[in-house]
């Protein structure tokens, strides 16, 4: 049991933010739909910056359209931009789904987005026929950029998919709905793997695993237009009301899960992000509660491999080391608990969101920590940097945005989360589940060895 201190950012100015605006999360979620395309109703930066972010992290294409709002739209509204945007995109790309993502501009201008979408659909039906027009589902995702953050934008998109596309339940599909959050392809694949070992399968809302990590096979790739392999099919979303339950790994997927519960009696479980032993155990127990299926021997062996690596590595190399963790609140919540399990102290936990769930979870983490935990909600990377100048730690865990700061502080950075653009392969390697936790232990221990043992190399002899 250690002290938990909650520290505010202490200024209005944000310096090196740890969050971005809602539309990014909505675009992310939409790209996880099979033949799904986001159409951003805003300026050209609103999609282009986001494409850069995805391209750099995943090293994959990210096709995101925009309605190209300009001065005239600011005065007269974005009606024709949105209607023409939907029509052009539908006709030329023939997507299964268009996620119409709003921005600060379109929300401030006050466009009647739903109304314009109806007009676009009607005109499309007249021009290309009802049947063809109906093949493209239009989903309105309201994501004003000046409210909350991109994690909420992700949650709002999943909620919009469910509320727009889910059909009345018929009979059970024996599946589980999984809302994975803004995690990596490797993480989603690991969750599917666990469910496979337990004898069930998932409807992933939405499944960004293949679209953001797709094979290079020109002979089988859909082109003109290009679509990546995979993604959640619209029919699967429609079918999500027939599932045995919904698990949202991050707290910010709660709206969609709760909506399915309220409307169609699909029981919802929110969190935790299954990083480490206890959180993965809880995930497995939740799966059992919802499906009646128990952990298989194979899965328990995978758990055993994690326990084995903890027994072998933690006390010798990691115990008592202080770490600072920043980034996605759900990920930081999972990581903080995990570093306690491996004997380290989460001295600083920092996130850009102000949600109370984060602080509540950190109070729990404090009970499991060997040393005091400073909790920095609604904060930014500069605030963390200043604290680390005053009280250095042994390791920092977070995304690439901390690379210059940790370099100047001479503290090694263990890269996790989004974005990681200055190292290779991090989007493929899971950090969730028992296997993911083994990966994390290896990643952390190797960096500790390099930084704190290489000089006295004899200490690395077995």
């Amino acid at each position: 049991m250690s002290d938990v201190n909650i520290v505010e950012r202490g200024r209005t100015l944000v310096v090196n933010p740890l969050i971005t605006c809602q539309p990014l999360g909505a675009m992310f979620a939409t790209l996880g739909i099979h033949r799904g395309l986001p159409l951003v109703h805003g300026s050209q930066g609103c999609n282009t910056f986001v494409r850069y972010a995805f391209n750099r992290h995943f090293r994959e294409p990210a096709e995101i359209a925009v309605t190209s709002l300009h001065e005239d739209a600011a005065v007269f509204g974005g009606r024709s931009n949105l209607i023409n945007g939907i029509k052009n995109l539908s006709k030329r790309f023939r997507p299964d789904l268009i996620g119409v993502v709003t921005t600060c501009s379109s929300e401030i201008i006050g466009d009647d987005v739903e109304g314009f979408m109806k007009v676009a659909h009607k005109e499309l039906a007249e021009e290309i026929g009802e049947e063809k027009a109906n093949k493209t589902k239009l989903v309105h995702i309201s994501t004003p950029s000046f409210v909350e953050h991109h994690f909420r934008g992700y949650g709002n998109a999943v909620k919009a998919f469910v509320n727009t596309l889910t059909e009345e339940p018929t009979e059970s599909n024996d599946k589980l709905n999984i809302i994975p959050g803004m995690v990596n392809p490797g993480d989603i694949r690991e969750i599917k793997h666990i469910l496979g070992l337990m004898g069930t399968e998932a409807i992933v809302l939405s499944d960004t695993s293949d679209p953001f990590d797709s094979p290079l096979r020109p002979s089988t790739t859909e082109s003109m237009p290009f679509y990546p392999k995979g993604g959640t099919r619209v029919e699967e979303i429609a079918d999500s009301s027939n599932s045995l339950g919904t698990i949202s790994l991050p707290f910010y997927g709660d709206d969609a899960a709760n909506s399915l519960e309220k409307k169609y009696d699909v029981p919802a479980k929110i969190g935790p992000m299954p990083i480490g032993v206890q959180n993965t155990d809880e995930f497995v127990r939740n799966v059992t509660k919802l499906t009646g299926l128990e952990a298989s021997e194979e899965l328990l062996d995978e758990r055993g491999l994690l326990i084995d690596s903890m027994a072998d590595l933690c006390s010798r190399y990691l115990f008592g080391r202080k770490v600072a963790i920043y980034g996605d609140p759900a990920l930081v919540m999972g990581m903080a608990r995990f570093v306690c399990e491996i004997g380290m102290i989460p001295s600083f936990v920092c996130t850009g969101v102000e949600n109370p769930e984060f602080v509540e979870e950190m109070k729990k983490v404090g009970k499991e920590s060997e040393g005091p935990v400073e909790v920095m909600p609604g904060s930014d990377l500069r605030a963390l940097e200043v604290r680390l100048e005053e009280e250095p730690v042994d390791l920092v865990i977070g995304n690439s945005e901390g690379r210059l700061i940790t370099r100047d502080l001479d503290i090694p950075l263990v890269r996790v989360g989004f974005p990681v653009y200055d190292r290779a392969g991090y989007h493929r390697v899971p950090i969730v589940g028992y296997n993911g936790s083994v990966n994390l232990i290896d990643r952390i221990t190797n960096i500790v060895m390099e930084k704190y043992y290489d000089e006295q190399h004899w200490k690395l002899q077995q």
């Binding site: 200024r11 209005t12 100015l13 944000v14 310096v15 090196n16 933010p17 969050i19 605006c21 809602q22 990014l24 300026s43 050209q44 930066g45 609103c46 282009t48 910056f49 494409r51 850069y52 972010a53 391209n55 090293r59 294409p61 990210a62 995101i64 359209a65 925009v66 190209s68 709002l69 300009h70 001065e71 600011a74 024709s80 931009n81 023409n84 029509k87 052009n88 995109l89 006709k91 030329r92 921005t103 600060c104 501009s105 401030i108 004003p144 950029s145 000046f146 953050h149 991109h150 290079l216 020109p218 002979s219 082109s223 003109m224 237009p225 290009f226 990546p228 945005e401 210059l404 100047d408």
Partner: protein, 485 residues
Amino acid sequence: MPFDLFEVDKEIPERKKHIYIKDSKDPKEHIPACNTTTVPGCMTERGCAFAGAKGVITGAIKDALHVVHSPVGCTAYAYGTKRYPTTPDMPNGDKFPIDNFNLKYITGTDIRESDVVFGGMDKLKKCILEANKEFPEANAIYTYATCTTGLIGDDIDAVSREVAEEIGKDVIAINAPGFAGPSQSKGHQVANDVLFESLVGTKEPPRTTEYDVNLIGEYNIDGDLWVLREYFDEMGINILSTFSGDCCHDEIGWMHRAKLSLVRCQRSSNYIAKLLKERYDIPYIKVDFFGIRYPTENLKALGEYFGKEEEAEKVIESRMKWIRPELDKLKEKLQGKKVWVFSGGPKNWHLPEPLEEELGMDVVAVSTMFEHEDGYEKIKERVGENTVIIDDPNSLEAEEIIEKYKPDIVLSGVKEKYLAHKMGVPCILIHSYENGPYIGFEGFLNLAKDMYAAIYNPVWKLMEFEQEIEEEISAENHARRRGPS
């Protein structure tokens, strides 16, 4: 017909006037329509005016702090998107205390819903003051309007003036909200105008020489500026100010003391060169340092201007004596390879001739995101017959270019790179480079090496699994595929 409607554009026939196939018998004014608004929903590769201002121009300044007046998103996106390294060296010999300050920090006003309702000017003022307190090292503060704060009508000029007086430091307001103008290009222009109007003529350089130049439109992408600086140093020509690669804020203030302006990127920074000519009668010449012939000609011209002909010759000779043999070796490998160049603007006319003359490549397609008429005229002059010239291509057109013109390599940005790869075509970055710098003689060699590495990456021969491995079948399959055989 000089203009071509692509298959994929059947539904948006207005795209036809943006796609021109070069025919030298056509009148000069036959160029693609350009600098106009994009077709909504077409999947453009363009960005916004704010990106043009902060991302291209001001983000390169080593000692300025940026306060983005926006919801958190624009601030987050303004962080470190371009490869603009800086040194800590200041013109008076001092060292700036924070390394890579321009890449390390970004700040913003974190606009929320209540600010949208009640206005964000008080918040902006508070934030600029906080920014100044957080980073007293910064020599100036630049603040930016964005879509939100532009639409709610915050007067960022007034706030900036007020705070500047209070803190005794320049606070520069840049009014290029994302929705301004058809592309990034509008942001370049606004930044040029604002920096000229508010800074030029306000400072004096620590020393001047008879050989002082402004190097305008050189942003030091991956160290480009440092290549040119070496040439100039060896010639005894002093770069008094760069606009704005690895420059400090004060350098812009004394641009009026140069003897000559050299305009490197002629899309993003013509404006300030023209203003310097108009107001201070500083002549400017447009320079081109990509490839071999252009830097040779331009260094010679510069040598002639300053009476440094011999020095120029030495710079050229010392490089070319070791670069020429290297290039010749690469030419053997790159000869006949087809290229599609997709740049923001001027690299469309910088690169085609060097690629063809020096390396024997065949430029089959060129396209830009935001070039204007003058740029397209130059592009048209410099590309070969039947090369397709495309303004603001969208990603479906990109696929059609690849299908139709079958380039062996694409030179473009990161948004297009992985799409090209998925179609089995190598692609290298020319906005931020692979292993740059790409400017000057050494830079052109780097580019040639990167193209070689990309085209001859063994992966392109391993694309598909083959059940039968008899030699003839395998050879036949290879022949069917793109890439070298």
